[in-house]
């Protein structure tokens, strides 16, 4: 849905890297290189960014009108 604030496993604040990660992936960079540049070493943190599906960008439009 939305990027987690922290890594589920180790508690590293992973959410802060999301915007830059997304921008660079959309440009077509290799995810491995981007993750290394961001300094994300552990595989528990890397999988959070790699496997994330940002559904909220689509869902945010479909809210009941209040």
């Amino acid at each position: 849905m939305i990027i987690p604030v922290r890594c589920y496993t180790c508690g590293y604040p992973i959410g802060r890297h999301w915007e830059e990660f997304k921008k660079r992936i959309e440009k077509g960079e290799d995810p491995k290189k981007v993750l290394d540049d961001l300094g994300i070493k552990r595989y528990c943190c890397r999988r959070i960014l790699l496997s994330h599906v940002p559904l909220i960008y689509e869902v945010a439009y479909y809210k009941r009108k209040v």
Partner: protein, 303 residues
């Protein structure tokens, strides 16, 4: 008395790696249980600030109140100055409404509002997406704190993404807490103690020199080398060794032996950002000394 536990030997601490958020320390002649106690205190007992209670006034975003409250709690808040400014977690937890939801009403006495003066601060947030089509992201940097010393460490964590005409406003209470209670109050992400390898190598003969060359590729940390002059395997940095034993399995018999040292251990931890490495370590040692003093005092009273 066990040789390794002889306290009379000189205790020595050496910094092996140090960055802004990560440290590796080599402890010499310190017993493992003591180091593990220190590690656990770093992880579970050093207090840090975090948002604990949120009051929502309006929330028309697609995320539920509970999800947003949880996300707010996980945001690291700067606590370097807060440790001296705010009351201890044991006292201040009683100033939170949520504390009484779990405990039965009669069992605990509520502190007066005067007791709670230095217990928490308000962190406020309110946004409205006025755009007709575009989405708007609400970042941790947009939070307004009453105390300029207690602000989110990282400004670019997305808290919620608002669709057109959606609104969000809330007041949040932040207080000191310990990792025992909830891991959002832990100042470190990883903290561990590991063994130091003791690597001994025997000289090789010409027949298995080639085999040895191949087997060194299996070392995941690449600390082994071959010296052709001495016909021996050389170790570059034994502190890097992770004791995976791949080289022992793959190399010619008896060419390399690995065991662990009983007089040296490595303590490592990585800060989340609320406190500096130095502050975490010093606070943990203070808490450790207080605990030992308390234990001694209790033993004296028993006599």
């Amino acid at each position: 008395m066990n040789e390794a536990y002889n306290v009379a030997q000189k205790i020595d601490v050496e910094i092996r790696k140090l960055t802004d958020i990560y440290i590796e320390l080599i402890f010499k002649n310190v017993p493992l249980p003591i180091l593990n106690a220190l590690r656990r205190i770093i992880q579970l007992e050093v207090p840090v600030m975090a948002i604990d209670e949120v009051i929502f006034y309006e929330n028309s975003t697609v995320l539920y109140d509970e999800i947003i409250a949880h996300r707010l709690g996980l945001i690291p808040l700067r606590s370097e100055e807060a440790l001296d400014k705010y009351g201890p977690p044991e006292k201040c937890i009683k100033c939170m409404e949520s504390y009484y939801a779990e405990a039965s009403e009669e069992a605990v006495e509520r502190p007066s509002s005067k007791d709670c003066e230095n217990c928490f601060i308000y962190i406020r947030g309110s946004v409205e997406n006025l755009d007709e089509e575009e989405l708007k992201t609400f970042y941790s940097g947009d939070l307004l704190s009453d105390d300029p010393d207690v602000v989110p460490v990282y400004k670019e964590i997305p808290i919620v993404i608002l669709g057109p005409h959606q609104r969000l406003s809330f007041d949040a209470k932040a207080r000191l807490g310990r990792g025992i209670e909830h891991s959002k109050f832990s100042p470190v992400s990883v903290a561990g103690v590991r063994y130091v390898a003791e690597i001994s190598t025997n000289s090789l003969d010409d027949t298995n020199l080639k085999d040895a060359e191949k087997c060194l590729e299996y070392c995941p940390v690449k600390i082994l080398e071959i010296s052709y002059e001495d016909k021996k395997i050389l170790v570059k940095d034994p502190y890097e060794c992770i004791l995976c034993m791949q080289c022992v399995k793959r190399c010619p018999e008896n060419s390399i032996k690995i065991s662990y040292r009983k007089d040296q251990y490595i303590l490592f931890f990585e800060s989340v950002g609320q406190l500096s490495i130095r502050k975490i370590l010093l606070t943990a040692i203070d808490i450790f000394i207080n605990k030992i003093d308390y234990l001694l005092q209790q033993i004296k009273e028993m006599r």
